[in-house]
């Protein structure tokens, strides 16, 4: 089969399993590449940095959703890079209001569509970063989830406030260096664990919650599709590497994303109607050090701290994959 030049290597991996380019492993895809739309609804030419995970999260989501979609966007990198007036990357209707209200904004779109008899077949999808979701937007998101609107909320999670220059958020992992959690004589970096946002949303009793990664796009797209198809509110949190904020090689964003799941730093799962299901089981456990060393945000960590992080990961690993 002819493979388009712009299809990234991890997709090629699925196409030719036997010559897999990624860590000699094949991903258990729920979709095939052939089913993925070749229509781009997020135009190139936007102003994101090289290696940006967030823009992939949007591009893939829109491929999964199709053109019959209205999007809302929180203030943040994705809004800034995609909408320099009078240019716009979004080829679907799009509204950005403020930082903390992407979910309320989506509630308004959905309610208007219902009131005007235009809801049928239209996906209403809210985007927000981890700052706009875990922190400042949590109240608005909680309200939207609890009210039961038929919408999908996608959090592109890059684990800090990248738009303002890498400040810590409720999503920043233990030990990570940000400009507001700097290591120093009295500090080893971020001293709190990443907030467990998906379970906070799941506790609202919504029908669908999932975690995903832009490094595993077919899994992510399948989850977005499922989230949109389900009647009622759905939440997808997609791990989106940020080379600028993480101090990583822009060419390695996907590799780092895969290392995150293969080391157990993040776990991919779905919670459907309250029932949890792990959606990716790493074939072998890679030491977390392999992930940490790809990023400058962790380079100050001592062996003791790395061992501590490995301890947290082991505990989660045992619980998740036992």
């Amino acid at each position: 089969m002819e493979i388009a030049a712009d299809i990234p290597s991890y997709v090629r991996c699925r196409q030719k399993c036997e010559t897999s380019l990624i860590a000699n492993r094949c991903w258990k895809f729920s979709q095939t590449v052939k089913e993925v739309s070749d229509k781009e609804l997020f135009a190139s030419g936007h102003r994101a940095c090289a290696g940006c995970g967030g823009t992939l999260a949007i591009r893939y989501a829109l491929k999964a959703l199709g053109p019959n979609t209205i999007c809302t966007n929180a203030t943040g990198c994705m809004e800034v890079v995609s909408s320099p007036y009078p240019e716009i990357s979004w080829k679907v209707p799009w509204i950005h209001q403020a930082f903390e209200n992407s979910a309320a904004s989506a509630s308004g779109v959905e309610s208007a569509l219902k009131a005007l008899g235009r809801k049928k077949g239209v996906n209403v999808v809210a985007f927000g970063g981890d700052g706009g979701t875990f922190d400042i937007g949590l109240q608005s998101l909680s309200g939207a989830m609890e009210r039961g609107h038929d919408l999908t909320y996608i959090c592109y999670d890059n684990e800090a406030y990248m738009n303002t220059g890498v400040q810590r958020s409720g999503s920043t992992p233990y030990g990570a260096m940000t400009t507001t959690s700097p290591p120093g004589k009295l500090s080893f970096g971020e001293d709190r664990q990443k907030k467990d946002m998906p379970h906070i949303i799941a506790a609202h009793g919504v029908p669908y919650v999932a975690t995903a990664s832009v490094a595993l796009p077919l899994d992510y797209m399948a989850k977005v599709k499922k989230a949109a198809a389900i009647e009622g509110p759905a939440y997808v949190q997609v791990y989106s590497p940020c080379p600028v904020g993480w101090g990583s090689d822009p060419a390695k964003s996907i590799e780092i994303g895969r290392l995150a799941v293969d080391t157990g730093m993040i776990v991919l799962y779905e919670i459907e109607n309250g029932v949890s299901k792990v959606s990716y089981r790493p074939p072998e456990k890679i030491p977390v050090r392999e992930f940490l060393k790809t990023q400058k945000r962790f380079r100050h960590l001592t062996d003791d701290k790395i061992a501590e992080i490995q301890g947290f990961v082991d505990e989660r690993w045992d619980k998740t994959f036992r």
Partner: protein
């Protein structure tokens, strides 16, 4: 058929929302706006309003929901007061910057701290620069009528700005007056179904709320001011058309003059206290004192104000707000700005009715006494009415 009833101001607003056939209501309860939220919720529950009622978790989300719904092509309504207005302040700029015809009733209430649930107008006055049209009403009937007119003004192709109808909390919201509820058919003639010029639609994608760089931001703000300037004549036109259909109007829609013609003292105010002032003027039985009630605070009808105050030797501005640090009421300082260079009338600021303190007939008599004293001698330019000094 139009019908008469005795009702609270809040109920009068709810009737207007029903008659306006809104599509989306989002609101969060706050005293003294609560009855508006409750009455419209019941109307939706009974099928009297065919709208989506979004039970939001905050005023910030209430405004966010109506902005998005309006951007999606719906006619929208919300109501708030005081702390609620302060919480949605960020979003007020977004509604006006996006040029969305959102209509909101603000039940004017004092701001914390100290917390006060009672009436003054500091909340909306402090939001004077958010780019919303602000219309202050005197009676419950005017609250109903102005809410209907607000949609016509907001949705006018040349205006496209949100409108805040400001009604005094408790004084109007919780007080009963006879109100005529207009006939539905007549209302639908005056205010036809909302036809947005553009809206979020997958068939014809557009973007609302992109980032503007310094090369365009100033121009977009200037366009908002142009729209405000244009709104002036639209407000007058809508007031006239309302009058033609319903036989009621409120001055020229922008200001209402009461016995100003030969007056050497003119009191200027906003909102319901105008009723008390009219009573005091009436009881005097002379023509020396008049009243200019400013209905439209934004846009501020400068020409109308100048014309009305032209003959006055003393202008006393009674208002329920104070700009701390400036040391006078915001309206007084604006009236002074408007009058700069036209005549030499003295402009006095009377700060009154803060945090729900009644502005009584005696309070108004005292204000007028001070103004008359100013005709022949020097008086302080700022007065805190009924201030306890010990």
């Amino acid at each position: 058929m139009a019908s008469w009833d005795i009702m609270h101001g809040s109920r009068a607003v709810a009737e207007a929302v029903r008659l306006a056939d809104v599509d989306v209501i989002a609101a969060y309860p706050i005293t003294p706006q609560t009855h508006i939220v409750e009455d419209t919720a019941k109307m939706v529950a009974d099928g009297d309003i065919r709208a989506e009622y979004v039970k939001v978790e905050s005023e910030h989300s209430a405004m966010s929901v109506v902005i998005a719904a309006s951007g999606t092509g719906a006619r929208t309504f919300t109501a708030t007061a005081s702390q609620g207005l302060a919480l949605m302040w960020e979003m007020l700029f977004v509604a006006s910057g996006m040029r969305l015809p959102v209509v909101m009733v603000n039940a004017n209430r004092a701001l914390s701290a100290p917390i006060s649930i009672w009436n003054d107008q500091q909340d909306s006055i402090a939001s004077r620069d958010v780019g919303w049209i602000q219309l202050y009403v005197e009676t419950n009937q005017e609250a109903l009528d102005t809410t209907l007119m607000a949609y016509r003004i907001a949705e006018d192709a040349g205006v496209q700005l949100p409108v805040m109808v400001c009604m005094d909390g408790f004084v109007l919201t919780h007080t009963v007056e006879p109100v005529e509820v207009p006939d539905e058919e007549q209302v639908s003639k005056f205010l036809p179904k909302f036809k947005p010029q553009q809206y979020l639609d997958p068939k014809d994608p557009m973007a609302l709320g992109p980032i503007a760089f310094p090369n365009v931001y100033t121009e977009l703000r200037a366009m908002q001011q142009q729209a405000m300037d244009g709104a002036m004549s639209v407000i007058e036109k809508v007031n006239d058309e309302f009058s033609a259909v319903f036989n009621r109007s409120y001055g020229n829609g922008l200001v209402e003059e009461f016995k100003t013609e030969d007056a050497e003292v003119i009191i200027v105010t906003l909102g319901s206290v105008a009723g008390t002032i009219k009573d005091v003027i009436d009881e005097r039985g002379d023509s020396k004192v008049g009243l200019l009630r400013i209905k439209s605070f934004r846009p501020l009808p400068e020409d109308e104000i100048r014309r009305a105050l032209k003959g006055a030797k003393v202008v006393g501005v009674i208002e329920k707000d104070v700009s701390i640090g400036l040391g006078k009421g915001a309206l007084a300082s604006e009236v002074r700005d408007v009058m700069y260079g036209s005549g030499d009338s003295k402009i006095l600021s009377f700060i009154a009715g803060l945090g729900g303190r009644d502005i009584t007939l005696d309070s108004v008599r005292g204000v007028i006494d001070t103004c008359e004293k100013a005709l022949s001698e020097d008086v302080e330019t700022v007065h805190w009415v009924d201030l306890k000094t010990e």
